[in-house]
């Protein structure tokens, strides 16, 4: 395998955009990315698209050539990847694998979701199709309900406090207020989180990521050719994709995601680093409890201590391991298929020193973790400065 670099980045704002359709969002992110990487459409050899539920949200299928055409890509392999909320990370993993294997040199990865054209109960139903519709979802579960049940058990087993969950939301909202592309640039307090509208006990609306429209894109090329395109290549030190039991009630222990632990172990080995070497991370905070569990599964906090680690301030931008300096899914927004690619953009922006008000002091080695469903898919990526 040969080393691969990220040579271009492009993102739309995340938010509710009633006058924008799915294709225009993806095309905007793709064009910005091509421009950022100084790549012309005919130079792109393959197109990888992460999208969770375009067919259900907007009624359009066969999305990769549909968007590729809008980008001026012509005649190249164009494929959509679906792995629930890990769709973007999964597209990125497969694009990396093809470049690392020497099949292509220049590939474009995009992720997109257009969610806000549907009413909330319909959005909940479409998202629920990422779970077991013949079991847990038939009983009336939703994704917030699955993560609420994880939170209840984590609180029971480890003494995690309701305030620890709220601390994740407070931190990520404060971070997102500094992100010009974030969906909700609003600071919240612990009291507001606790008093928020209940969604699935103990989670309130402030514990849940946002229903958003948006797109993100990255360009990949072999590291040895990166200088032809950009003065600021970012090396993909590792990326690993894994899977695990599908339904929550099939797992022996729901307070940990084995898929994330496996992906982390592979990624750390591939990058030749350990959790203590990582300087900052973008984690999949689809719900506040998910960031706490991720801190533990990735080896940043001891098992059961992710909540305390957060409440002690360790994950603040000034802490020992800044987490979600972008605002995370919580504040930045969670256009499902775009999320995994957006995380790569945010880590790469930090490494390039282009994160503006979000810029962290230590920013040479960063990690992104993307989770699908209630843990059936995971992607962990380590990026480092060249």
């Amino acid at each position: 395998m040969r080393p691969v670099a990220v040579i271009g980045l492009g993102k739309t704002p995340f938010g509710a955009f009633p006058d924008r359709d799915l294709r225009s969002l993806a095309v905007e992110a793709g064009r910005k990315c091509l421009e950022n990487g100084n790549v012309q459409p005919p130079q792109v050899e393959a197109f990888y698209l992460g999208n969770f539920a375009g067919p259900a949200f907007v009624g359009q299928n066969h999305l990769a050539p549909y968007i590729g055409e809008g980008l001026g890509l012509d005649g190249i392999p164009s494929t959509r990847f679906e792995a629930a909320c890990a769709s973007g990370g999964t597209a990125f993993f497969h694009a990396w694998a093809a470049v690392a294997a020497g099949i292509y040199d220049v590939v474009l990865v995009a992720g997109v979701e257009k969610m806000t054209s549907q009413a909330t109960p319909r959005v909940a139903e479409i998202l629920a199709s990422a779970g077991d519709v013949s079991g847990e979802m038939k009983a009336g579960a939703t994704f917030p309900a699955l993560f609420a049940m994880i939170a209840r058990r984590h609180m029971h087993d480890f003494g995690t406090r309701r305030e620890d969950l709220a601390a994740v939301a407070v931190k990520n909202h404060a971070n997102g207020a500094r992100n010009p592309l974030a969906h909700m640039r609003k600071v919240v307090t612990i009291e507001q989180v606790l008093a928020g509208k209940p969604v699935a006990d103990p989670l309130t609306v402030y514990d849940c990521s946002l229903v958003s429209d948006g797109a993100a894109a990255v360009l990949l090329a072999p590291l040895e050719r990166a200088a032809e395109f950009t003065a600021k290549p970012v090396r993909i030190a590792a990326v690993a994709q894994t899977s695990d039991r599908f339904a929550l009630d099939e797992k022996d222990d729901i307070t940990t995601f084995p898929a994330v632990k496996r992906a982390a172990a592979k990624a750390y080995q591939m990058a030749g680093v350990g959790p203590r070497d990582i300087e900052f991370a973008e984690l999949h905070d689809c719900f506040t409890i998910a960031e706490i569990v991720a801190l533990e599964d990735l080896g940043f906090a001891p098992r059961g201590q992710g909540g305390r680690y957060t409440s002690e301030g360790c994950t603040l931008p000034t802490g020992q391991l800044p987490v979600n300096a972008s605002g995370g899914l919580k504040s930045k927004g969670h256009p499902v298929g775009a999320t995994g690619v957006g995380q790569i953009c945010d880590v790469a922006l930090q490494i390039r020193g282009e994160a503006g008000e979000m810029q962290l002091a230590r920013h040479e080695l960063g990690l992104a973790q993307n989770l699908g469903g209630s843990g059936a898919s995971a992607v962990v990526t380590v990026l480092r400065a060249v």
Binding site: E125, A139, G140, A141, A200, A247, L248, I254
Partner: protein, 67 residues
């Protein structure tokens, strides 16, 4: 059978909007297997003993034991 974890769903999917709020739980059956079901009657907490009240449309409905 006892409750492994539970939640009360306030924001329901389209099909169950009229039933919210309702409680669901992952229940550990006596043979150790697990299933996600609805809770009838009073709310339950982790480790509460429950029994099968009925099955509707393939979904098990549990209630607190001895009630």
């Amino acid at each position: 059978m006892k409750v492994y974890t539970e939640t009360v769903v306030h924001s329901a999917p389209e099909a169950y909007v009229n039933e919210a709020p309702y409680q669901i739980a992952i229940v550990i059956r006596d043979d150790g297997s697990r299933v996600t079901g609805r809770i009838l009657g009073g709310r339950v907490s982790i480790d509460d003993e429950v029994e099968l009240a009925e099955t509707r449309g393939g979904v098990p409905y549990f209630k607190k034991a001895n009630q």
